[in-house]
Symmetry: D3
Subunit: 339 residues, 6 copies
Amino acid sequence: MKDIYIADLTGFEEGKFFDSFFLVLQKQQRTTQTNKPYLNLILCDKTGQVEGRVWDLSDPRISKEFDRGDVVKVRGSVSRFNDRLQLKVDQLRKAFAAEADKSDLMPATNYDVAVLWSELLGFVESFTDPHLKLLLSTILADPQIALAYREAPAAKQLHHAWLGGLLEHVISLLKLADRVAPQYPILHRDLLLTGVILHDIGKVRELSWDTGFEYTVEGTLLGHIQMGAVLAERTMDSLPKFPPRLKMLVVHMILSHHGKLEFGSPKLPMIPEALVLSFIDDLDAKMQAMTSEFDKCAREGKRADELTGKVWALDQRQLLNTRGWLGEVEESDSRKPEI
Amino acid sequence: MKDIYIADLTGFEEGKFFDSFFLVLQKQQRTTQTNKPYLNLILCDKTGQVEGRVWDLSDPRISKEFDRGDVVKVRGSVSRFNDRLQLKVDQLRKAFAAEADKSDLMPATNYDVAVLWSELLGFVESFTDPHLKLLLSTILADPQIALAYREAPAAKQLHHAWLGGLLEHVISLLKLADRVAPQYPILHRDLLLTGVILHDIGKVRELSWDTGFEYTVEGTLLGHIQMGAVLAERTMDSLPKFPPRLKMLVVHMILSHHGKLEFGSPKLPMIPEALVLSFIDDLDAKMQAMTSEFDKCAREGKRADELTGKVWALDQRQLLNTRGWLGEVEESDSRKPEI
Amino acid sequence: MKDIYIADLTGFEEGKFFDSFFLVLQKQQRTTQTNKPYLNLILCDKTGQVEGRVWDLSDPRISKEFDRGDVVKVRGSVSRFNDRLQLKVDQLRKAFAAEADKSDLMPATNYDVAVLWSELLGFVESFTDPHLKLLLSTILADPQIALAYREAPAAKQLHHAWLGGLLEHVISLLKLADRVAPQYPILHRDLLLTGVILHDIGKVRELSWDTGFEYTVEGTLLGHIQMGAVLAERTMDSLPKFPPRLKMLVVHMILSHHGKLEFGSPKLPMIPEALVLSFIDDLDAKMQAMTSEFDKCAREGKRADELTGKVWALDQRQLLNTRGWLGEVEESDSRKPEI
Amino acid sequence: MKDIYIADLTGFEEGKFFDSFFLVLQKQQRTTQTNKPYLNLILCDKTGQVEGRVWDLSDPRISKEFDRGDVVKVRGSVSRFNDRLQLKVDQLRKAFAAEADKSDLMPATNYDVAVLWSELLGFVESFTDPHLKLLLSTILADPQIALAYREAPAAKQLHHAWLGGLLEHVISLLKLADRVAPQYPILHRDLLLTGVILHDIGKVRELSWDTGFEYTVEGTLLGHIQMGAVLAERTMDSLPKFPPRLKMLVVHMILSHHGKLEFGSPKLPMIPEALVLSFIDDLDAKMQAMTSEFDKCAREGKRADELTGKVWALDQRQLLNTRGWLGEVEESDSRKPEI
Amino acid sequence: MKDIYIADLTGFEEGKFFDSFFLVLQKQQRTTQTNKPYLNLILCDKTGQVEGRVWDLSDPRISKEFDRGDVVKVRGSVSRFNDRLQLKVDQLRKAFAAEADKSDLMPATNYDVAVLWSELLGFVESFTDPHLKLLLSTILADPQIALAYREAPAAKQLHHAWLGGLLEHVISLLKLADRVAPQYPILHRDLLLTGVILHDIGKVRELSWDTGFEYTVEGTLLGHIQMGAVLAERTMDSLPKFPPRLKMLVVHMILSHHGKLEFGSPKLPMIPEALVLSFIDDLDAKMQAMTSEFDKCAREGKRADELTGKVWALDQRQLLNTRGWLGEVEESDSRKPEI
Amino acid sequence: MKDIYIADLTGFEEGKFFDSFFLVLQKQQRTTQTNKPYLNLILCDKTGQVEGRVWDLSDPRISKEFDRGDVVKVRGSVSRFNDRLQLKVDQLRKAFAAEADKSDLMPATNYDVAVLWSELLGFVESFTDPHLKLLLSTILADPQIALAYREAPAAKQLHHAWLGGLLEHVISLLKLADRVAPQYPILHRDLLLTGVILHDIGKVRELSWDTGFEYTVEGTLLGHIQMGAVLAERTMDSLPKFPPRLKMLVVHMILSHHGKLEFGSPKLPMIPEALVLSFIDDLDAKMQAMTSEFDKCAREGKRADELTGKVWALDQRQLLNTRGWLGEVEESDSRKPEI
């Protein structure tokens, strides 16, 4: 069991040994400016990444039998170079399967996935439209999809970029959609919620998350919009009584959910539910990115009433934490939304 | 009292006389292609506009003493030219002050303004932040502002372009904001609602609505964003204990609510409340524009499962009414949102 | 049999009667400025459109039993209004099924569709890749698709906007692709040609061409890119041995053929064949639009060395006919490309 | 008194000691690649910045009692690393208040601020419009504003980024405006000059210049356009007889002076004076940026007839110094415009 | 001699005869809605255009021997149709060469062209750079160029769109450049003025102004930038001692004077003189467009304190006349800049 | 004669000496972090660049008499720093003129330039239009142009960035144009081929390739489009019978070949040949960039079925090698197009 995390290392004394498990994201042989060879590793766990260095390549206590994607057990100590933390590796071996848990080794949602999943099923259960209910039950009953839906991150970098991020984002959106729907009587609640559940389902194949978060070749060539639309269409085709007109709307919602052609949607939203979906999807992603940025600043020791740096996911604007600015928040306040 | 409206005229028999009151939007002398002179009028009431023609300019029963902006009593009959309705004017005189009600003569909200207003005050009453509560109470207690806030349209053309439209839009937004706020714990509910109430307050001076809806010169040169920010800032300055840091956030929300520089906001939203405000403002405007377009199509006799024409307020896209397309709606169904 | 075409009417004497068959695109009751009622018709055949007017609505020789989409037999005469030709209708009745041929009544390709179709099959026959050959044989053997593929226009307005236009455009592209392919050894010829044949196949459902050229509701909501991709994917899924990696490339070519996100492609071309397809598709469409514009100017009597007006399909630029400008062309030269 | 400047160090012999005063912009503890700890400082004076290093952290002659923003007295010597100059710190202590002058320690205008200021007042004196004269006299008589107006830089980086830069830019613009005004009789000279003097006045609060040049939180959230407009509006409101129509124009000029919405102006220039202001403001900034770039190239030893590198403030274009290219200029010619 | 102008006709009594000379811009045979044939003419003189109608085509007093581009003598009377003035033609014949002056028949500068021309030569005379002085003397001594330079409009529509407009624009720019040059010591005055004189010289061939203002085919294919650059280059090549480095700068100024690639300049301004030229060229064009718009509003009877309509040449913005708004101007004030 | 190339060094053992010739692209004195001085060189040959270091500056076997642009003979050995190869210089002297061939020292086309050149002349020989044939014969007979045309790269970085690259690109385009021309009968083949041969001819002066590939000052200020147009125009002017209308088209093709204003073409393509030229020029450049990227990935040891990185010359998209992905290609397959 892993009990020392990368996020903890900041406070460690230099040179003092500790043991822990990490996932190897990168492994390269390098030399210093003065030509001394060493092994450079990028190691990660759920709390972040750290650069590791092996200086004595011939030390028998350093296994040679490991590669990118492996989980390793490391004994090492902390040092600092140009204010950046480094891990000096003293001993290293491949971990046994039972020694470490994948969810400890990559960034993962803070929520209980089982709870999120049952919330998702609860929403489907609440549908009054029998066709949409059947559609979603059918898709979510597929064991492969169900497994991937629970694991997938929502993005490689931008927002909810962690294991379970897709599900976390969808649950947040479902709650938001359920709040917004009664406001506008022209909205078909079940259709809107169907759009929420299916809009990013293509990401279960667009992304891979075995060794860090990457786009698959298929994901790069086709995109999650197309892959999700095909998955939905194929399932609806398999349901003998699914109304063709309703099918068209479900596919349209998936196609148009990015809201603009230049964001990769081949169609603009043309029905009320698609319009709302594109708005709340964008809003929820940006709110999550804001929250993450404030958390990151807090972790990095910034004062709560300072501006953040320029945030890439928000068009390079700087942000200000309202409560921090108004002095209403403890520096270390951690606000996990109750999604 | 007015009891015949322009919207009713479609069904009228040609040539049969009726009496009613109208507001004169335009008055011009013209000639036909064959050089026959006539008086061309644009007349309106709350249900729309119609072109009126006076063919006998010397008829003593046609008053000459009226102008753009006057309310007139007209006796006339309906005719049709190239499928467009015209009103042949037989008699015309200026109306007496007591004869017609302004709210009958310009497009106006379908809601009871007094109810909306008390809902607005109710929201302010619900605030827990004493400074923001005092700020809004002070502004809304100003009789001039209160009157204008109840009358102003939300726009000249795009959305909520009718008397009371501003208030209707704000109430819709307040309810929406109140639904969204609990979803994200980093949101300061009272600040968000303050932004909602004040974001368009500059429109009470940017627009004039005495004779049709027009931009004032001041509105054109300065814009409602600037005028609203100054109004808010001045009021906050008059409250001795208003926290300067909070003041900055209120002004920032007004400045940034259009969400993009190219839409006239000099700053992008940088606090969570400003981000949410810019999203829901845009969403509510577009949902209202969609609803209006579906209503217009229904009035014009389009089938409920047809696409609309290209809609200017929605980037020239065509729209489809979900419920109409799915056959779940009566053609004449009129869905007034319960805002 | 129809022997008088709308394009012939320019030279007709005013008032002299003739008989012919037309398709009714529009039928509306109107009144003149002086309130005289009349029936306004938009009539078309393969050579163009003309406005028809029925002045005596009660004339028993004018049938009332016809509507938009019907073929009618008309006796009438030509008149001119503001330099525009009008057709004064003297007699009118619905045509019998056998009296007129649809290909005479809508703009249609000048090529022999049977010849084009066998050229298309010839290209497929030439494939060396067995999977792609089977894929295309399977699709083109579907009788419904084969019929629609021969009839469909390539666009509503921009280019090849006539019956058979899709097939004509594809044959032109196949020849062009076959010329370009040997130039670049990295190109997979059969894959490129597969992309050419399938890239616009979704148009057989995106457009309807029974009564003029219109977008279907499905076409508007989903688009021919998505509809074509799904059709191709479904067929490949039905072929048990179709290589999954090849399937991905075929779908990618359909998705990316517009070349830019803002033109509705959800993905940019990322393989050599997709890049070439997007270039030659755009080039062929623009060359056809240029040729059509020069033909139109010639028909309208412009001198061959004058600039055209601003051409919408070419970003509003003006064009110059090289050969006309150099005096190497007879005014009436009609150059039908030998596709 | 400081008599050795950073710009002088280029010529210094390595290892030879000297003493001088610097402002500390940054102070960080670091280690070398081989883990040797050192103190890294960014030091500046009016001629530039230099990196300083303290290698012996325990040396008692190196005070520990100083921080970012302090002025320090340093004894050290020059070294070079990768062609970049470094300052090896031998001794260091906080300076006494009287020892160094702030205007020596940050980049500052080359002009005599007192002279510039009296030129500014002279322009106001020349006004014939009594209201505008009173407005400006009132604002410039405010001691706090007057002080800040003399100190503020015109920008953080782009142009006139030095102490007194705002005033220098304004004087240059006043002279330019005074030259341009007689050219166009529709121009109201005093209004144009008022716009020049007030257009950037919000920068006195948008920027801070105590420790390097930074944006304040208020400046980031509201921007100098808004802050300047409010300052002007408040002053005009305090003048009982200031004509409301004139006030509107003054505010409009401040709001619109960036010339485009996407540059942060919420309104486009709509009066002749605002149009001219937006042009000359942009031109003067770009001319200053060009001049600075040529000076920088000369300082860096580039030949006078070479192209500069890509200049960020001029859309990444390269520049050529006309006189240098034509051989009409000595390499070391320093042309200070006589503003 | 012409003594009645189109601008005068507004006040004329309907039906009363008058005689005058006009240039024929267009001649077309048409029919009314009720099929009555008539001849439709577009006639112009220096004050504007008017539609003329000949109703009796067989009247022997109406010559048939005239065409587009001819000057005609007309006897006719004024009528009005839909508020637009029409000219009912009673008699018409081609004018004799001596009867009318071309400068009376097309819009032309209000300045004395001879005076402007001698001002232009005066500027060249003031040069101290012998090469540039020789270059300009050579070009302006070419009789064909000199004639065209005095006649050419500066544009087809946007600004200075009248005979002599190019010269008027250049003189205004020369004066402006001469005011701006001393402000920036890095500017080479003679080079800047050379750029001003040559920047639009290609317009003498890009435009034709014999019958209205049109683009030539060459102008459309090559553009005045390219044509002017070639003319300048060819002349410099013919001057044996012209310095090659100076030549490059002159050509660069012509190429870059539109300031942006998307405005048709193949290069951005990279020397100070080119930067200034692009700014003042744009500014002078916009100031002229503003002045024209205010004049047009005054002629159309708008109040001096009203906003104009949306102005095409100024990005569709509305404008406000400062002096009119402030009440400092008589409605009919006509301000001809003293260029 | 050079027989060891930079591309070969990857496999060399560290520390083992070898001799070879290189071109010096850069020479700078530097110090290590620990203040040890050394000489840093950038050396190149036709296969790439390498960083060289001279550690013993006083070693008499290291000549001091060489500079940027010189060819040098070097004895040294390979070392590695941060995975990048370095060349440790042991001895160095300037090469004698006869010792090394320039085409060995800079990246150069893989084709035989003499063959390409005779193919070019063959195309000209095939022309049927006597004027265009004479024009090209005249230009290509100019010895200076002919030499430069054979040497010039087609670009500094984007595509065909090697000696002979311009000629290689033109031959590829000629073949492509010759394939495309018969497809569209409105195309004037000789004019199209003329455009191909001349479109980039300005690059022989826009770029310099003596010491690496650089833009000349003239090239930066005027651009190859303008320089090519002037060269063509001047030659046509020298041919007494060259038809003026044809000349205009040739110049238009050069001006418009970038296809868009924002890419530096002052005119859009307006004739069919210009449109085709702009398409095939862009296509050929992108196909070459794709091929180069695949080759680079192969050289860097990427698997043939992996995506490339983001490619700058293709709008940052990733690419996939079709044949590699389908497993139809050996990793090391090198496909030189038979242009």
